[in-house]
Symmetry: C2
Subunit: 315 residues, 2 copies
């Protein structure tokens, strides 16, 4: 029996798409998975009714406040204690839900995670990742994609461990390899950060270090499965990929593969390095993206991602 908490008020198109996404997920997940929805009870019931879906399939935790997309994260989280995000983290830290997912204010989700369930002991900085789809159907993992714009070598090196556990336990990548995003393949290439990180990664026995990865290696299956960079570079890269996807689509050149670059359709990404499963979705998630976010949350809970990271860091 697992309990998934879902922020119904988070996301640009909430609560409409969040409720629709929850209905889609509810229909395909088994009955031993409970859904706990955080948000305005009336709105949730009304949307369910319109969809001719029995709202009693959900446990609803009514909340009266909303953390808006533009709100200051720390302020909003502490002041809006009756918001869906604050209520979700409250139940998550008490163990009444096993994971919490939201497509709402990313900053507030981070603040909530750090204030309540907190970083795993030994984790220097939690990170978020994105999937890079490959033509074979496999994926690579890129991290960090935005929450750590300034990094130190030890942080990047530790993400090699976090990324490896995530890639293996959630994405089924066996014995994953870790690459350092850089501007040359040789060991001595790079900026100060990359040059200082390379020897740390090379010496690490906690993951398989591949070596440097360049921008043009991103889709190369023979290269590393996990690509590590600071959150500034990762965020620029992620958004550049989005720009290319839009360009390809706009020119009528998309296909089944390129459609996988539609990051709106991904089910969000767990915050790697916190004590409980916290999943952050894309702000402009539609109902299918919300459904996928809920499935991701289930996978992260069942894979015991947080437990495995904890274990790796206490060895």
């Amino acid at each position: 029996m697992i309990n998934i908490g879902i922020d119904i008020m988070g996301g640009d198109l909430a609560p409409q798409t969040t409720v629709l996404g929850a209905i889609l997920a509810r229909k395909i997940l088994p009955s031993d998975v409970n859904f706990v929805l955080f948000g305005d009870e009336n709105s949730i019931k009304e949307i369910c009714k319109k969809e001719q879906f029995n709202a009693s399939a959900f446990k609803i935790v009514h909340t009266s406040e909303v953390i808006e997309m533009g709100d200051n994260p720390a302020k909003a989280f502490t002041q809006k204690q009756n918001s869906s995000i604050a209520a979700g983290f409250h139940l998550l830290s008490k163990g009444q839900i096993d994971g919490f997912a939201s497509a709402g204010n990313t900053g507030a989700m981070l603040v909530g995670a750090m204030y309540t369930v907190k970083s795993i002991e030994g984790v220097i900085r939690p990170a978020i990742s994105t999937i890079i789809p490959l033509a074979s159907g496999k994926v690579k993992i890129l991290l960090d994609v935005g929450i750590n714009p300034d990094c130190k070598p030890e942080i990047l090196c530790q993400w090699g461990i976090l990324g490896s556990i995530y890639a293996e336990s959630v994405h089924g990548i066996k014995n994953p390899s870790v690459g350092l995003l850089n501007i040359g393949s040789e060991e001595e290439k790079g900026n100060i950060l990359a040059k200082s990180t390379f020897p740390l990664m090379k010496e690490s026995k906690q993951f398989n270090f591949f070596g440097n990865m360049e921008g043009n290696d991103l889709f190369d299956e023979s290269k590393a499965d996990i690509i590590i960079c600071d959150g500034f570079v990762g965020n620029v890269l992620l958004k550049t990929a989005e720009a290319f996807y839009e360009l390809i689509k706009h020119r009528g050149k998309s296909d089944e593969y390129f459609d996988k670059f539609n990051f709106e359709m991904y089910g969000g990404t767990p915050i790697l390095g916190v004590n409980k499963p916290v999943i952050i979705g894309h702000g402009i998630s539609n109902d299918i993206a919300i459904k996928n976010m809920i499935l991701t949350t289930k996978n992260v809970i069942e894979a015991d991602l947080c437990g495995k990271i904890k274990q790796a860091l206490t060895i």
Copy 2:
């Protein structure tokens, strides 16, 4: 009358493609443009003969040494004084050629430029740029793309001036605007470098500051014409664009527009901020890329890019 110096020994496919490229360019440029080829005289004459092209259309400066792609730049440049790159810079600094272009060892070209013609007084760090093609046929300019992996705010800010002069005088972009590559549109967003650069750019009266640019703004015509970032981020971005181009081509989805992302076909890029026109081509340049590199060199000379940058920095 202008004299263009071309390194015949530089590039993965030299001297074959470099001579072929020079022949292509020679055929379309007027007779008041002189070509000075630096390289092995016999090879040059042999290739011309095979092509049934009269080698006397070129002035040949015979050189007996070659700086290889894998050579240590500073070492090779100082030790191989009879190399095509060393000889080219020698004549460039003496004013016997007006510009020098090579698809060879980029590091050696940089070392050569810094040792001989040198940085323009006041320029903190020279930079190289790339073109971002837009669907309308216009272009944006991105810099730096690799020679400055670690930067300070004053460097990025000054590139706003260099980029603006280059965009206007060589690419005909009227009254260009300058954007700072960042991970959010708001002023306070970014890593330490971006946050410190923003106020400097905002205060600058030497270019039109647009504000922050994100990865997904790259192809947006309504956004800035010039995008400034450190050479680490710029190089990752450039190579990511190459990766997307390869992916699009590989899936048979290319078209006239996407073909413009084939950076091999571009005619190289000038080093912005040095006293004379020095143009660096892509290592894997084919004959058409070499031809374009020569045309770019002519444009940079005729636009008096170096003179204009000098003037802007002495005001």
